[in-house]
Symmetry: C2
Subunit: 204 residues, 2 copies
């Protein structure tokens, strides 16, 4: 990339611009999911936008006390940036999950570390909060992050489920916690998975 060592205004601004240009690479990280028109695999940057829109649109279904929507959106925008170094770990890839935490920890240190410490810490904290799934916002964000690829799978006749031999019981395990976040969204996704089985998109 031309000019990547350029200095701008202050050291702080220079680091912010370097970070913002570095995260452009998230647009080249490919996920297993394909677009609903089946034309190509989805990248993680556009996925991040889509789940932020999903959170805005479906927030009304989350059980009381409602998670803060703005904080949820920030979690969703930031949480996948580590994939620039660590790659996307497929949801059903047990081997990939064995060292996921270590790879992502190193990625978070390097990428957020392009920023000055206060801002690096803010983004690392958002990323950790999402991963730990302890707050209401992180649970809602995680629910949306799991709904989205299942919707894409359903609307593409089970494209990545078939490609990766995913079965109904495995998908159900991924969404078990959603009932505690939103009974409405939980029963929606259960119904979607059942229809996927009935239509032959997902193996029973």
């Amino acid at each position: 990339m031309e000019g990547k060592d350029d200095v701008w205004g202050t050291p702080r601004l220079t680091r912010q611009i370097a970070f913002l240009m570095e995260i452009d690479r998230l647009k080249t990280v490919l996920r297993r999911t394909v677009l609903t028109d089946g034309s190509r695999r989805e990248n993680t940057a556009e996925h991040s936008w889509h789940i932020a829109m999903m959170a805005m649109t479906l927030h009304e279904y989350v059980a009381e006390p409602k998670p803060d929507l703005s904080h949820t959106i920030k979690l969703l925008l930031v949480h996948d940036i580590v994939e620039i170094d660590a790659g996307d770990t497929f949801a059903y890839d047990t081997q990939g999950y064995s060292d996921k935490e270590e790879r992502e920890q190193a990625a978070a240190s390097r990428i957020f570390g392009l920023l000055e410490e206060d801002q690096a810490a803010e983004y690392r904290k958002l990323w950790r909060e999402f991963e730990e799934m302890d707050t209401r916002e992180a649970l809602f964000a995680a629910a949306i992050d799991r709904l989205q690829p299942m919707l894409h799978n359903y609307y593409t006749e089970g494209y990545s489920w078939k490609e990766n031999g995913v079965r109904h019981a495995q998908a159900l395990r991924r969404i078990g916690f959603i009932d505690g976040v939103s009974p409405v969204l939980a029963s929606f996704i259960q119904e979607l998975l059942q229809r996927a089985v009935d239509r032959g998109f997902l193996e029973s």
Copy 2:
């Protein structure tokens, strides 16, 4: 798209899911800007994610009274959805701008109209607010939306500037209002454009 006429739970949820699957198409709307690695043109969905991250990262530079960051992020996430029908209008395309408003108005009616009226109205309002550039949040959002492609151009040796014969004075006109939003960001982008001229990325 398989299952696009499916009915889910309630009429409201059915319409929300239809909307969320429809906006997946924003991932196939291509802009003139290329990724910083030069590999391909950027699509509007991933652009929307990137500018939301830029707003988070550069919010500190906006003059007092600060715009609300969360509202700015919502404006940025929603404002380009109309491009699904209306296409991306290149910033320097005077002919394209002549009917931009009409095309985008029709797009907003159709796409946000997939939702029930309260939610359709909420998204239309965000889209209108961005377009009208009257609130502090809309001005900050617009500043970020104009900074991002200029950064991409600089870091790709002026790729789309050269391709479309854009000149320094035209770029400067696009950013005139930014000084009122953030003197720091305005002088950063002026410096960037000057260096782009000096390095031969942008015609003087």
